[in-house]
């Protein structure tokens, strides 16, 4: 064979701009910044509640109820109105953020983590491990979560962390199911076969090659999970697991007052908005993150 022909591709194609770090790119997206801001505000609101809340969240003000015992709509004293016991709603929402953030972020995050791990493992390692894991998932799914919650409530003394635990234990199952299905499809793809021929270990394939493809699903479940877990917490509290009155959480404010939503809409509306904003904020950040990490999105301005 004669002289190789020159390969001066360098001259042909100018090197693309150095891809800036993922975080920097993230901060360049206005929607992501909005999302991050909301999250920071929520976290700060929860952390600084004792200093910024206008009132004690549990104090039942005499002038917080009308003479007939009706709660007050938003007014100059009680900015977001009062609840059925004459307590300041704004203060309760601020304090309630503490509970709800723990649930929405920690418990939901834990569920997401467990579910993803189980689903990915089961989906990839079919065979025995996969079978056992998925049947265990089926078992957990078939098992009435509410019952578990009630039993725990009655056996243990209720606390926020118990409810977080219960939610994590209950919610991972669904994530696992969905991730499992996607993983089983992914693991039939040719590039996974290629990885195997290279001798890549199972964990490597799982975490380096399959997980990144599941990112969008994980983000969807993670962000939607925030709303559902925060609301689930209220149900569990109602059954006696988790925070007990008068401690506030966004979920239980809604739950306590939902029958009054016509008479006192603010009692449902404001905590509802809080939950919505939190979930949306995480979704904005998640979507942006996914776009930033997704190579095919390069070039989208």
């Amino acid at each position: 064979m004669s002289e190789p022909i020159a390969f001066d591709m360098t001259t042909a194609v100018a090197a693309p701009p150095v891809p800036p770090g993922a975080w920097r790119r993230l901060f360049k997206r206005p929607l992501a910044v909005i999302g991050l801001t909301i999250i920071v505000v929520a976290v700060l609101g929860a952390a600084l509640a004792p200093w910024i809340a206008p009132f004690d969240p549990n104090e039942q003000f005499f002038d917080g109820l009308s003479l007939e015992g009706a709660p007050l709509p938003p007014n100059a004293t009680y900015w977001l109105g009062t609840d059925l016991l004459g307590r300041d709603l704004l203060s309760r929402i601020l304090y309630g953020a503490r509970t709800s953030l723990v649930i929405g972020i920690v418990a939901n995050g834990a569920a997401l983590l467990i579910g993803t791990l189980v689903g990915v493992t089961a989906g990839y390692f079919k065979g025995f491990i996969g079978g056992v894991l998925m049947r265990f998932t089926d078992l957990m799914m078939a098992f009435p979560a509410l019952l578990l919650a009630i039993c725990l409530a009655a056996i243990l003394s209720p606390s926020l962390w118990i409810v977080a635990l219960v939610i994590a234990l209950v919610n991972w199952v669904q994530v696992a199911r969905v991730i499992y299905t996607e993983t089983s499809a992914l693991s039939e793809r040719e590039f996974i076969a290629a990885e195997r021929t290279l001798g890549a270990s199972g964990p490597r394939i799982l975490f380096r090659h399959i997980l990144p493809h599941l990112l969008s699903t994980v983000i969807v479940w993670g962000t939607l999970g925030i709303s559902t877990t925060v609301l689930l917490e209220a149900t569990l509290s109602y059954l006696g697991v988790g925070v007990q009155p008068p401690m506030a959480s966004w979920g239980n404010i809604i739950f306590e007052n939902q029958t009054y939503f016509q008479a006192a809409p603010w009692l449902v509306f404001f905590p509802g908005i809080a939950i919505l904003l939190l979930a949306l904020a995480f979704n904005l950040v998640g979507d942006a993150l996914r776009d930033v990490l997704d190579p095919t999105e390069r070039g989208r301005d």
Partner: protein
């Protein structure tokens, strides 16, 4: 008001399912009055009142020592299956309800009948105290004088059932009730609806007025109210939901259709006298003084009146001029300090988890906090609260709301035995304050031995004194007596007291009628 017209059909809704219509078993508040319309007992109350009157019995006689009751049965009473009722049916009914195999929650009411003990222990299959001298006569012998016995004979559990039908359906009798009542069951679609049809053969001619009653179940009270407003429903069985109460009361048109009445109910806080620091009467008194009952009544939109004693005002024996403990946090604090709890203490307050109970508990919690008592709330399902209350060291304080005492029959004794007497202060009992005062137990027995109807006032006074003395020991904080608010459709007519009948809850089906029939 015009004379009630016969005919027409009404619709009533309930949220919870109807468990059973077996009079020996049904003990829920929605099936309580349904059973009363399907079955009859020897005794009953005059509609809308608490006045006893003979019903299937034409007359009765009480022996001078108060231990033998002889009932003469009415003629022409037929079961829905067409068979005439006889004294044997009465005996069968009483044997059945006291037979442990029936698992009747009301068996205990018949404890004063001679031979009950042998029945309860399963030794015999028939009450020796109940005999049938002839087909029209039932003779019931008691082992001790019991002034409440006529009330007992008016209880659902004493409603007469036909033996052949019970045996035919066995355990499913509750789904196929056959009685002598004004209505008979026409349809029962599980989980959806029950339809009662007028019993044309009813012995009390002219009654009932309605041709048909439909009970729809599984209906949220708020939605039931909406349907009432739309004219689809005549009586929302669960009442006016708290969330809608003010809206209804502010609208004159709707308010006009609300009937208010008393209820044989008391809402109270129990303090477990076996658990420190509630073993100290001063602490209990202090708690009594700490609770702002007016505020609590305000929280539930004024649907109750503040209480100061166990008995509700409409109950005979209620002490009108009892002073009780006035709301006085300062005095309460002082009393606490005297008891050695100047800095207060920590405790738990159990409460059932349906609205508005947790809210009331929070109001109580705040009142307690004002005198230094830090009560943490345990809001649980009814069954769990009951379980905790029945354990000696299970629950320091319980707010009784939702599980509270609604009298089975309008007699003061009904508020004592299981919930304040020594008999209830046992493992698994209902005396959640574990208060046991032997002396009072004795006085209670004495009061109930006054069987002579002429001495009723004396007996009521005795009971009044008993409850006044209990309040000195303050095992409870009586908080309020709930008022009943029944809302009806515009077409429903009948005396107001039929709609807040103290015995038939929510309404007395047999005597109400509608005005839009020809």
């Amino acid at each position: 008001q015009d004379a009630p017209k016969a005919g027409g059909a009404i619709t009533i809704t309930y949220k919870d399912d109807v468990a059973t219509l077996d009079p020996a078993i049904g003990y829920d508040w929605q099936n309580w009055s349904m059973i009363k319309s399907l079955f009859d007992a020897l005794m009953d109350y005059e509609p809308g009142t608490t006045n006893l009157k003979p019903d299937l019995a034409e007359s009765y006689e009480i022996s001078p020592d108060g231990k033998v009751f002889t009932f003469k049965l009415r003629d022409g009473v037929k079961f829905h299956n067409g068979r005439a009722m006889t004294a044997e049916d009465v005996k069968y009914t009483l044997d059945r309800v006291t037979n442990p195999e029936t698992q009747s929650p009301g068996a205990g009411f018949f404890g004063s009948i001679a031979g009950y003990e042998d029945m309860a222990s399963g030794k015999v299959k028939s009450l020796s105290g109940v005999t049938v001298p002839d087909p029209k006569t039932v003779r019931i012998e008691l082992s001790r004088p019991d002034a409440t016995f006529l009330h007992v004979m008016a209880l659902n559990f004493a409603h007469i059932v036909p033996k052949e039908e019970v045996e035919k359906y066995g355990a499913d009798f509750g789904k196929h009730p056959v009685g002598t009542g004004a209505f008979k069951l026409a349809e029962w679609t599980l989980g959806q609806r029950l339809v009662f049809e007028k019993n044309a053969d009813y012995w009390n001619k002219g009654v009932p007025f309605l041709d048909q009653i439909t009970f729809e179940i599984g209906q949220e009270p708020i939605v039931a109210l909406l349907r009432l407003q739309k004219g689809e429903v005549d009586i929302p069985g669960d009442g006016i939901p708290p969330a809608k109460f003010q809206e209804v009361m502010k609208d004159p048109e709707q308010k006009a259709r609300v009937v208010e009445g008393g209820q044989l109910h008391t809402g109270y806080i129990t303090m477990n006298v076996k658990m420190a620091p509630f073993d100290d009467v001063k602490v209990r008194q202090a708690v009594n003084m700490a609770i702002n009952k007016d505020r609590i009544v305000q929280i539930i939109n004024g649907r109750a009146v503040p209480a100061n004693q166990p008995l509700p005002p409409s109950m005979p024996g209620y002490v009108k001029n009892l002073e009780g403990y006035k709301y006085d946090p300062e005095a309460a604090k002082k009393l606490l300090a005297e008891a050695g709890h100047a800095d207060g203490f920590e405790t738990e307050l159990f409460v059932m988890n349906t609205d508005p109970q947790p809210r009331i508990a929070q109001a109580i919690q705040q009142d307690l906090a004002a005198i230094g008592i830090k009560a943490s709330i345990r809001s649980l399902a009814q069954a769990n609260v009951i379980e905790a209350g029945g354990m000696e060291n299970g629950a320091a304080m319980i707010w009784s709301g939702g599980m509270g005492w609604i009298a089975d029959f309008p007699d003061p004794s009904n508020f004592y035995g299981p919930i304040l007497g020594c008999a209830g202060a046992v493992q698994g009992g209902w005396n959640w304050s574990w208060y046991c005062n032997e002396a009072l137990d004795k006085r209670a027995a004495e009061a109930d031995a006054i069987v002579d109807p002429a001495k009723a006032e004396e007996r009521f006074a005795a009971w009044g004194a008993i409850y006044s003395d209990i309040m000195k020991d303050a095992p409870w904080v009586p908080v309020f007596n709930e008022q009943r608010f029944t809302m009806k459709s515009a077409r429903m007519v009948g005396a107001d007291n039929l709609f807040v009948d103290p015995v038939h809850i929510p309404i007395n089906y047999d005597f109400v009628s509608v005005n839009d029939v020809q």
